[in-house]
């Protein structure tokens, strides 16, 4: 499976490329919110009026790709929670109006598949269309689905694959009570140096054009793997088998992109993976976007920028990426429970 294009709406200025030029947005609040594009510029008001934040972000990230690429054969989205703001609005109506007469827009927009459906509608795309909601593996699942889709096609084909997660009071409050966020307020510049419990809540949409053939592509997604409730040993074994399947040695991986989140309880997983690759350079991405369940899609965006030789000199790129990498391994985990691996290889 080949990567042809990538775009992100994120807490950084990714939508107008100044992020690539070294721009860095400092966030000093309990949540790292996206820098929105001007959605009204490209979404008709008749559609925009109904859209929740997740759908807007998703379309905002997918639209530039759709404009500059041929029509795809389908749309696959990963999102752990979909349109939460609409969800809580509807939920609050249920209670506030005591199950009385309620407005349906919030309900329709709150379903996680609303984004994939809206993209199909806006681009008149009756092709393959699936939404994966498998928590922090939703994006990895979307990629595997794409791989399977290509394996059954006779002709060269392409897909939009992406992920979105939005911050709402709803998920913030729930995840805060579940112990996922830090009690103290931290700047994103300091996030990865922290070792207290929890991380900081982020959000974003990252979209990709993936294709079955290498034509016009700049990277190959060689493998997408997942583990649930593994031991450290099982993770090491899986990484070894992933490399073996792709005929790679440990030394062949020249960069790691890691989902370290400043959560002292689980960051040991990243150190463990780093130790498996003593010669690889490595970097992190949650200092840019915070923690959310489909943040690995931003990890892939960052890796994709790195193999395109953008961002290598970004001043806030933590770790030590000194050159355009050839083979990148992405690793992310959430709660220490779900672990995802994506192997990316530069083509040119």
């Amino acid at each position: 499976m080949f990567l042809k294009d990538a775009f992100a709406i994120s807490p950084q200025k990714t939508f107008n490329s100044t992020f690539e030029e070294g721009d860095f947005v400092v966030h000093e609040s309990k949540t790292f919110k996206v820098i929105d594009a001007d959605y009204a510029e490209f979404i008709p008001p008749s559609l925009l009026r109904r859209m929740g934040k997740a759908v807007k972000m998703g379309i905002g990230a997918a639209l530039p790709l759709m404009k500059r690429n041929a029509k795809t054969d389908g749309i696959i989205i990963g999102t752990a929670n979909g349109g939460l703001e609409n969800c809580i609005n509807f939920l609050n109506q249920i209670v506030d109006y005591n199950e009385g007469m309620l407005t349906p827009t919030h309900f329709v927009q709150s379903t996680p598949n609303a984004l994939a459906g809206q993209l199909a509608l806006m681009y008149d795309n009756p092709g393959y269309n699936v939404t994966h909601v498998n928590g922090s593996l939703s994006f990895e699942n979307a990629l595997v689905d794409a791989e399977l889709f290509f394996s059954e096609q006779e002709n060269p084909s392409s897909l939009i694959v992406g992920a979105v997660e939005e911050i709402s009071d709803y998920n913030y409050n729930i995840d805060l009570q579940a112990g996922r966020y830090k009690k103290e307020q931290l700047s994103n510049q300091d996030l990865l140096n922290s070792s207290t419990d929890g991380s900081v809540c982020g959000e974003g949409a990252s979209m990709f054009i993936v294709a079955s053939s290498p034509e016009d592509a700049y990277a190959e997604i060689c493998a997408v793997e997942q583990l649930t409730y593994p031991s450290e040993h099982e993770l090491s074994e899986r990484i070894a088998s992933l490399l073996a399947k792709n005929e790679l040695n440990v030394e062949d991986v020249d960069a790691l992109v890691l989902g370290k989140s400043g959560d002292g309880r689980y960051d040991g997983w990243y150190d463990h993976v780093t130790q498996l690759f003593p010669n690889a350079e490595f970097t992190y991405y949650k200092n840019f976007v915070g923690e959310y369940r489909t943040s690995s899609a931003f990890g892939l965006y960052l890796a994709s920028e790195l193999v395109r030789n953008k961002l290598v000199n970004h001043p806030e790129l933590m770790g030590n990426i000194s050159k355009q990498p050839k083979t990148v391994l992405l690793y992310n985990q959430f709660d220490g429970v779900r672990h995802g691996l994506i192997l990316l290889k530069r083509l040119v």
């Binding site: 009204a40 008001p45 008749s46 009026r49 109904r50 349906p104 827009t105």
Partner: protein, 87 residues
């Protein structure tokens, strides 16, 4: 309340409930069909309008089919509001 005042009030509710971005009351023509016209309203909006009439004017409409004769344009709705409002 004069009919003119009800019209303006209703149009403001309409804009708020349907989140008609960048639309002002003046831009909505009283005779313009709400559905199938420039406003681009659809079946979900018809239900939103039924909720609007219930919450703002205490008017109960059971279903979109019953609403079809009433939810034609601003004039027909405002006439119905004036005749049937309970608040």
């Amino acid at each position: 309340m004069t009919r003119e005042e009800v019209i303006v009030e209703f149009k403001n509710h309409l804009i708020q409930y349907l989140n008609l971005l960048d639309t002002t009351p003046e831009q909505i023509n009283n005779e313009e069909p709400l559905f199938g016209g420039d406003l681009g309203l659809d079946s979900i909006d018809s239900v939103e309008l039924i909720v609007l009439l219930d919450r703002e004017y205490g008017i109960k409409i059971k279903n979109p089919t019953e609403g079809r004769q009433i939810l034609v344009d601003v004039n027909t709705i405002v006439d119905y509001i004036i005749a049937n409002r309970t608040k």
